[in-house]
Amino acid sequence: MTATELATTELQRHFERTIEHDQRIEPRDWMPEGYRKTMIRQISQHAHSEIIGMQPEGHWITRAPSLRRKAILLAKVQDEAGHGLYLYSAAETLGAERTDLTDRLISGAQKYSSIFNYPALTFADVGVIGWLVDGAAICNQVPLCRSSYGPYARAMIRICKEESFHQRQGFELLLTMMRGTSAQRDMVQEATNRWWWPALMMFGPPDADSPNTAQSMAWKVKRHTNDELRQRFVDMSVPQADALGVTLPDPWLAWNAERGHYDFGELDWAEFKQVLAGNGPCNADRIAHRRAARDNGAWVREAAAAYAAKHAEGQGR
């Protein structure tokens, strides 16, 4: 064993102990390359999800049917941009660069949450996205507040707090709509029908098809399996649907007293794979929109850089 190898082994042992004692890895700490890569991927895909997730709701801001709802929605979409910002910053602590991550998003090299490849077709979708999509995101994310990577764990604490707020706002919109006209109730039911199954898919493939779960759990960057989280979400959502007065579109949904959980039907994994492969209802639109924003903004970013360079050199004027 060479001296370098010895040092690495020492560092590796320290890294493992930190994880074991539920302490946090910080940017200055040594970490295995696999861990670094996994964290960059996880954090940047989360950041991309926040940014792409602005689109389905964002295009309802100008059409929101009351000024109060308009303000709520605008603030929510702004929060998502803010989440994207923290998360890209967290990824930068691992040596990644925001522009590079954006390019990977646009080229398809990195993914974002499959849910945002579904269209938001009515204003009820804004409520259902808050209720089900943010709800599922919270189920996924609350455990990440204890992620072994410090900057990510801290970002998640703030993000989860804001997501809960968004989820309550979404639910409250739906409650109001369900107490409104019959057209509004129909709209809520129709949106629920569309989003229910894609929301369940947000937890990823069944555990049997999720090869990276074991390593991620060992590193404590993931704390529960996909199926565990999915079950938790179903159990949480059924009484909420009852409270709203909407029917979840699953004939198999039923309380199983033995398991102490709700049973539910099989997901359409073929559709899930289609969406992951880039052929979901909105994949191409989401990426094209993000690409257009990047390209249309290039001259602005170049101008800002040119100005900064000029004035740093004491030139200009």
């Binding site: 602005m54 000024l67 308009k70 303000a71 979409v77 803010g82 249309n296 001259w299």
Partner: protein, 253 residues
């Protein structure tokens, strides 16, 4: 009374329509920091609009809600200046718009903090802090684009030229405004020109830009935005803003 309500609609509609144009930038800004900043400015203006429209409903004794005014008036009942309804062609347009609109509105609401209507004065007091930030944000970009690359400079100049014809209108008070101003309730916008010109000259010179010199755009038989006479752009905004609310007039949201 009715005149005060009318005045609240003027200032409220300016904010409402300007906020709408900014909302169109959502998911389209050049950087996430700008995404956040523009949403923030739009939220501020939307907040101002809501307070002002609600105040109009109390001032005219009808008790009509902010949503009544925003969603159920027709185009010729909107009293905003035409400047706020113009589309933003590119980011230079946005920066120029915010600088022109923000500087004018800050001067206006700055004076309104001393107005005799305590509600209006309070709304103005809150808005002044917000508008100072809007103006600062805009000035930063006008300077950077003006003194950035050749391309950004060309676009910044073109943007200022596009907005300029609509600036003159900002300083021509509607008779209702001028009458209220003599009572100390409103501000005659003619008095804001000095402050506006000073701010503008200083920002533009920092960006190595000149004050444009295009002629003002005419109205129709002397009527402009404050009289309910708009450009064709407002129709597109209202179609989008009001469509859903009008399709469900009995709904609550």
């Amino acid at each position: 009374g009715g005149k005060l309500a009318e005045y609240c609609l003027m200032l409220g509609d300016d904010a409402l329509i300007a906020a709408h144009r900014l909302q169109e930038w959502c998911t389209n800004a050049p950087e996430l920091e700008d995404e956040v900043a523009i949403a923030n400015i739009s939220l501020d203006l939307l907040g101002q609009a809501r307070l002002l429209l609600a105040r109009a409903g109390r001032a005219d004794g009808t008790g009509r809600s902010e949503d009544h005014y925003a969603y159920f008036r027709d185009e010729h009942e909107f009293r905003n200046v035409r400047l706020v309804e113009r589309p933003h062609t590119d980011f230079a347009d946005l920066a120029a718009f915010l600088l022109l609109f923000g500087s004018w509105r800050l001067a206006l609401l700055g004076r309104l903090t001393g107005a005799r209507d305590p509600v209006l004065a309070a709304i103005a007091g809150k808005a002044v802090k917000e508008l100072s930030y809007h103006r600062e944000y805009a000035a930063g970009w006008v300077v950077r684009l003006g003194d950035g690359t050749e391309l950004s400079r060309r676009r910044m100049i073109a943007a200022l030229d596009r907005w300029w014809p609509f600036v003159d209108e900002l300083f021509h008070g509607h008779p209702a405004e001028i009458q209220l101003a003599t009572l100390g309730v409103a501000v005659d916008p003619a008095y804001l020109r000095g402050e506006f010109d000073t701010v503008l000259a200083s920002v533009l010179s920092a960006g190595r830009l000149s004050v444009p010199d295009g002629a003002p755009v005419a109205g129709v038989a002397g009527r402009t935005g404050r009289h309910g006479l708009h450009t064709e752009a407002l129709g597109g905004i209202l179609t989008e803003l009001q469509g859903l609310a009008r399709a469900h007039p009995e709904a609550t949201w």
